[in-house]
Amino acid sequence: MPKITFVEHDGTVHTVDAEIGATVMETALRNDVSSIVAECGGSCTCATCLVHVDDAWTAIVGPPSSEEEQMLDAAFEVKPSSRLCCQIKVTEELDGLIVHTPTYQGR
């Protein structure tokens, strides 16, 4: 089972098991990563599951779709490495993925 590491803004680190096919957002909620809000439950309509993908992983995770890119307009402190993690599906390739969560998701 792939492992994903969430590094929260306050330094809290969660390294958790992720189910293949689930989203990174679902993985965060199942493991009580409190800085992922996911208000819309994964519909890509709220921009409250923002993560900054660790530099070593941006090429593997890839860029956002145009729908997601539009939704990123409703997030804050967006960087080139920013993604909405409800739009990242867990695959075998993502074993070891590191994402950083922001201080604020808009609420």
């Binding site: 990123l72 307009d73 409703a74």
Partner: protein, 342 residues
């Protein structure tokens, strides 16, 4: 002066559960007014997933949020509910047995026998940008909504965002403003193409400015902005003089004033009695995502069920002397008359 609106029931929240409550109350001859902070009905279905599929409405294998709301509006048409949209309920006071006064942020007052809270995750409110020290400027020179355009006449104005709200207000306020600058994180806009073209034309003609970047700092004193600093993608800083800023980053759910109405709360949810979904205050009910009880599931179908049981108990308050006879819409001519089909 605001008049007092008298009705049987005030429903707070016009999402799917609030809408269906109109149906269940209507079958029992109970009239309702609905109040919602959004400018449209449908709640989360309209705001968060209008075009997304919902697969778990009984008997409907697949419907979108928008489709479900349209269908509910059609279903409750015979009961002719009154909607008060773009308005937030701020106060709920118990005046006596089966008597409540409900007030809104638009200074409307309602008097009713029963209050139904169907407020979902609370009220949708504008997202506040996380800019250090923004609080003192809010509602003085940083505004999340435009109530009076004239307040911005002759001012240096900054609008932030890339969606329709940001573009619409840019186009509406540009003729009034001394100088308007639109700030967006990327040089691509998700708003209506026509609005984008109009905005681009104004920029090309020199009538307004467009700056690509994110606001990183505010300057001013006593709530009055003087300038904002914008950081572009290369981290270069640009200072823009402004007397007002309008950020549009969409909405987020906040519990809002519900917590101030004297209701027992449990972690931002309202505990209810399982037989009627009544709160600790007799005559106030809570249905849908905002309530909690053992085994609660935040599903639209649960909210529908809760609305049906709520209406049975609400009948006691609205018609204390009438006996309630349970009937089916399939077989009761009485109910069919109310639905306009008999």
């Amino acid at each position: 002066m605001s008049e007092t609106i008298k009705t049987d029931v005030v429903i707070i929240g016009a999402g799917p559960v609030g809408l269906f409550a109109v149906f269940e109350l209507g079958l029992l001859d109970i009239k309702a007014h609905l109040i919602d902070i959004l400018d449209k009905v449908g709640g989360q279905c309209a705001e968060l997933y209008p075009e997304k599929p919902i697969y778990d409405i009984p008997g409907i294998p697949l419907i979108t949020g928008h489709g479900l709301c349209d269908a509910l509006m059609e279903q409750i048409k015979p009961f002719n509910p009154t909607f008060h949209l773009g308005e937030m309920v701020t106060t709920v006071e118990k005046l006596g047995e089966a008597s409540f006064r409900v007030g809104t942020d638009r200074d409307k007052t309602f008097e009713c026998k029963v209050v139904v809270i169907a407020a979902g995750g609370g009220s949708f409110q504008p997202k506040r940008p996380p800019i250090n020290g923004i609080e003192p400027y809010e509602n003085k020179s940083v505004h999340y909504a435009v109530r009076k355009m004239d307040a911005f006449r002759g001012k240096n104005l900054i609008v932030v965002g890339g969606g329709d709200s940001a573009l619409d207000w840019t186009l509406n306020l540009q003729p009034l403003a001394k100088r308007l600058t639109l700030i967006h994180r990327r040089d691509d806009f998700r708003g209506a193409p026509d609005s984008v073209n109009k905005m681009r034309a104004l920029v090309a003609s020199g009538a307004m400015d467009l700056k690509i970047g994110q606001v990183s700092e505010l300057e001013g004193a006593d709530g009055q902005l003087v300038a904002a600093t914008v950081k572009d993608k290369d981290n270069a800083l640009v200072r823009i003089e402004c007397e007002a800023m309008l950020p549009f980053f969409g909405l987020t759910m906040k519990l809002g004033p519900v917590a101030d109405w004297g209701l027992k709360m449990d972690d931002e949810l309202i505990p209810v009695d399982l037989s009627s979904f009544e709160t600790n205050i007799p005559g106030i009910f809570a249905i849908g995502d905002i309530n909690t009880y053992p085994g609660k599931l935040k599903l639209i179908l649960s909210g529908f069920h809760e609305g049906a049981l709520m209406a049975q108990k609400a009948h006691h308050y609205v018609y204390p002397d009438k006996r309630l006879v349970f009937q089916y819409t399939t077989s009761s001519t009485n109910l069919q008359k109310k639905l306009g089909v008999a």
